[in-house]
């Protein structure tokens, strides 16, 4: 009995085209699963990579601030014994925006009702009668069209999934690249500090020497003409390295979106003025 029922059902599905609709629904289910898994993986990965990139950007922003607030200030303090130094421009704080991680032109999986042109489970009495009277010609056509649409959607979704994979790869590469930039800041600031240290020692020793030579204990300025070449070279190196660091601090590394840190500049300018006045009074 069950065999007869199964055979009849099979024949009915073949005649009306329901088997195509069933195949379409099954394929849509599989495609949805595949797409959702891919999306979930993509979201997790993007979040993770995004966080890492954000961390690097924050670190770079901190470096930029430190360059202006700590290192340039120290340079100016040491250098003013020889010459007044001004730093033009302001550090640029890069704003990390999640939108840079998004794929452009991503079209999500369309809803099942947009693809299925016939619903055998929710057919009205009239529709069913019509289907029987027309020997399922039109329902079969619609079911086949639905299956074709779902197959095409599955092919299209493969492209969208591949685009997501590509986006992850691209973000991974960007992370490596921004990580390299962090390394550049790191090593340059380290060398800058070392050079400042060395230059400060040189300036201090020359100050002691020139004070003893000139018997002028109140003079705070050093005459650069009396400095040994090595100290002039150190000064030049520091000056050029400051230009390099200043340029690095003024750049945006992922986008051009960001804020110029006005408050710090003002503070630096005020500090510069006070110190300059003191030097002028003293000399």
């Amino acid at each position: 009995m069950s065999f007869v029922r199964r055979a009849c059902s099979k024949a009915w599905n073949a005649v009306t085209g329901k088997k195509y609709a069933i195949e379409a629904e099954e394929l849509y289910r599989k495609t949805t699963e595949k797409y959702e898994t891919a999306c979930e993986h993509y979201q997790k990965q993007v979040e993770q990579i995004g966080k890492s990139i954000e961390q690097r950007v924050s670190r770079i922003n901190q470096y930029k601030l430190d360059i202006y607030e700590v290192h340039f200030e120290r340079f100016k303090n040491i250098a003013r014994r020889l010459k007044n130094v001004i730093i033009q421009g302001q550090p640029f704080e890069e704003l990390f925006d999640d939108s840079i991680l998004e794929i452009k032109q991503h079209v999500e999986l369309r809803e099942q009702h947009e693809l299925m042109l016939i619903d055998f489970d929710n057919m009205s009495f009239l529709e069913t009668v019509g289907m029987i009277l027309t020997l399922g010609i039109f329902s079969r056509k619609k079911a086949k069209e639905s299956l074709a649409k779902v197959r095409e959607e599955a092919a299209r979704i493969d492209e969208e999934i591949e685009k997501m994979n590509t986006q992850l790869t691209q973000l991974g590469v960007v992370l490596k690249s921004i990580d390299a930039v962090v390394g550049y800041f790191d090593s340059l600031i380290l060398n800058y500090e070392k050079l400042l240290q060395r230059f400060e020692w040189g300036v201090q020793s020359q100050r002691v020497y020139q004070m003893s030579e000139q018997n002028n204990l109140f003079s705070l300025r050093l005459d650069f003409r009396l400095l040994p070449t090595i100290h002039i070279e150190e000064f030049l190196a520091l000056f050029n390295l400051s230009v390099v660091l200043k340029q690095m601090a003024n750049l945006g590394y992922l986008t051009e979106q960001g804020d110029v840190l006005e408050a710090d500049t003002e503070r630096a300018e005020k500090l510069y003025k006070v110190l300059n006045d003191k030097f002028n009074q003293a000399s």
């Binding site: 130094v85 032109q105 070279e233």
Partner: protein, 615 residues
């Protein structure tokens, strides 16, 4: 298949990325990498929409029917006998399609031609006809059998009933011998006697049987005489009906009677029936009579065919000359076909690459794709290429032609044997014979890799075009009769069958395409969408790999370079050596332009009153 350049994903150019990364500062690398477009920034739904539009344009439109119809007309012109191209299988549509699809990388194939197949089969059938001379009634009539039949019908009585004739009331007509007393009485009373005198009629007329069976080489005149005089072929009917029927079969006669009856009844209804016509109407056989006659005709035909076919089989097995004759005629026909087909295929094989070269020269220029820089060397290259193609394919083509010829040889043998038989058996065997090529091709299609829907579609079209061609030829006499009455009809009639069968086949294929019984259009569309997206996905993968490899390599190189420069700087600071050089190197590497590059310039700057500005 053309996926359309506009549908393809653009190929990623890693050289350009490498150049950009090398030219830009390493500090800009991240932004540059983020901005890089690895895949086309285009909505995938737009891509799908474009594929649908392309497919729709290809599948719809009048061009899909106009072109084959136009080519069919050209085929007709090419088919004029004096040119002798038709027999060689060269038609305009085949030439155009072969040239259009020509590709040096593909092997040349010998295509099946339904029209040529049918014409060859017709020629074979024509050659299989036996000539038994002019029809002579005396040679076929068996008076002894006739009189035996009459004797049996009368069985000692002076009267009998007609075997076929009945009046409107369903009563059988009474008949008498020509020399009977009753007939004598009627004659002396000056009355018409033909209604009462009996004749023994050949149900299937002798001439008809002579024409029908006479074409068979396996039947002798004696055989035909025996079959024509079987008892089943005799009917005792009135002399009047026998005269009216004449040399027609009952089927033909019935059709004529019905037309005549309708004509006379119409006149009678209008009141325009003359006395003579009234008599004529009264003398027409009744409907029941005609029904009886046709029923008898069926019985007679069945018995005659069975007897004739039995004789054919007997003669075939006994007479070795017949078998030799079959082989000889099939060989003769096969030779002719092989010669024609061979020449035709060689001509096509030569024309294809030459036409391709001409087309390529006019489209892309003589030097295009030849790696040559002068017109002469390009021409030489092209000619060599065409010659090489012909050389490479001539053997395979020859093999195909011989294979086809062998197949046709077998078919001609079977056809010759089939032509010896008669009646329904012959008709049945003929259908199988004529559909032989279509059946062979259907088997090939069934064994191919196509989807079930595509196979169904291909077989439907194949059978439909085959049937259309054969149906077209079955109306040959009507069509040619009509054409020959037109101006230049004698020349046009040669081409007309090709035009008619070509156009009807094209229309049938177009109609089947429009009906799309197997949803193959949908299948093709889905297949195209899948192919395009597969290609795009593959390209995205390749692009991603190229991007990743190039970028990571460049990032690694930059890291190494920066580490070395930083180390040089650190060493210089610690050792107190020349510091300016490492700083300058670092700035240059970072593509930062330093204005003060020497100690002298720096001292000048220090000497000025202006403060040192870091900018």
């Amino acid at each position: 298949m053309d996926t359309g350049a506009s549908l393809k994903q653009t190929q990623f150019d890693s050289d350009t990325l490498l150049d950009q990364l090398s030219e830009a500062s390493p500090l800009e690398a991240s932004r540059l990498l983020l901005k890089t477009e690895i895949f086309e920034q285009r909505n995938s739904l737009d891509v799908m929409e474009q594929i649908h539009q392309q497919i729709e344009q290809e599948q719809s439109g009048a061009s899909s029917i106009i072109k084959p119809v136009f080519l069919s007309i050209c085929d007709g012109l090419v088919g004029i006998k004096k040119l002798g191209l038709k027999e060689k299988g060269i038609t305009a549509s085949r030439l155009v399609s072969e040239v259009e699809q020509f590709d040096y990388h593909e092997e040349s194939k010998v295509e099946q031609d339904h029209r040529l197949d049918k014409e060859n089969l017709n020629a074979s059938t024509q050659a299989n006809r036996d000539d038994k001379g002019a029809y002579e009634r005396s040679g076929l009539e068996d008076k002894t059998a006739l009189s035996a039949h009459k004797q049996e019908r009368y069985s000692g009585s002076s009267q009998t009933h007609s075997e076929l004739e009945v009046n409107e009331k369903g009563q059988q007509r009474r008949l008498h011998r020509a020399n009977s007393k009753r007939v004598e009485e009627l004659r002396s009373a000056d009355k018409k006697t033909s209604r009462y005198i009996s004749n023994t009629d050949h149900n299937l007329p002798l001439k008809y049987l002579f024409d029908e069976y006479g074409a068979s080489k396996a039947l002798t005149k004696e055989d035909i005489k025996r079959v024509a005089n079987l008892d089943t072929n005799y009917d005792e009917i009135s002399a009047q009906l026998n005269t009216q029927k004449g040399a027609k079969t009952w089927t033909e006669f019935s059709a004529d009677v019905e037309v005549k009856r309708a004509e006379l009844l119409s006149k009678q209804n209008k009141g325009k029936l003359s006395k003579k016509q009234q008599q004529e109407l009264a003398d027409l056989p009744t409907k029941q009579t005609l029904e009886n006659a046709k029923r008898r005709e069926k019985v007679a035909r069945k018995a005659s065919d069975a007897e004739a076919n039995k004789a054919v089989l007997g003669n075939l097995t006994k007479d070795s000359k017949l078998a030799k004759g079959v082989l000889g005629s099939a060989t003769e026909q096969g030779k002719k076909e092989l010669e024609n087909r061979g020449i035709g295929e060689v001509v096509l094989l030569i024309i294809k690459p030459i036409m391709f070269e001409f087309k390529d020269i006019f489209t892309n220029g003589i030097e295009s794709g030849t790696d040559s820089h002068s017109a002469l060397s390009s021409l030489k290259y092209r000619l060599n290429r065409a010659f090489d193609y012909v050389k490479r394919n001539v053997a395979a083509m020859g093999f195909d032609v011989i294979k086809d010829a062998l197949l046709n040889f077998c078919r001609n043998i079977v056809n010759a044997i089939v032509d010896m038989f008669v009646g329904v058996l012959k008709k049945g065997l003929k259908i199988v014979m004529e559909g032989f090529s279509a059946i062979m091709q259907s088997i090939k299609i069934l064994c191919s890799d196509s989807s079930p829907a595509q196979k169904g579609d291909a077989i439907t079209k194949l059978l439909a075009t085959t049937i259309t061609t054969y149906v077209g030829y079955s109306f040959e006499e009507t069509i040619l009769g009509f054409v020959s009455k037109m101006p230049m009809g004698d020349i046009l009639s040669e081409a007309m069958m090709v035009v008619v069968t070509g156009i009807s086949s094209s229309v049938v294929v177009w109609l089947l395409d429009q009906l799309d019984l197997f949803s193959t259009k949908l299948e093709r569309r889905t297949q195209r969408v899948k192919e395009v997206f597969d290609l795009r996905v593959r390209q995205i993968k390749e692009n991603t790999d190229a991007f990743e490899t190039t970028s990571l390599e460049q990032i690694a190189k930059q890291r190494l370079a920066q580490r070395k420069l930083a180390q040089d700087m650190s060493d210089a600071i610690e050792q107190g050596s020349d510091l300016n050089r490492p700083v300058l190197n670092m700035a240059d590497w970072l593509k930062i332009d330093l204005k003060v590059r020497t100690t002298d310039d720096f001292i000048k700057l220090l000497e000025s009153d202006a403060p040192l500005a870091v900018n």
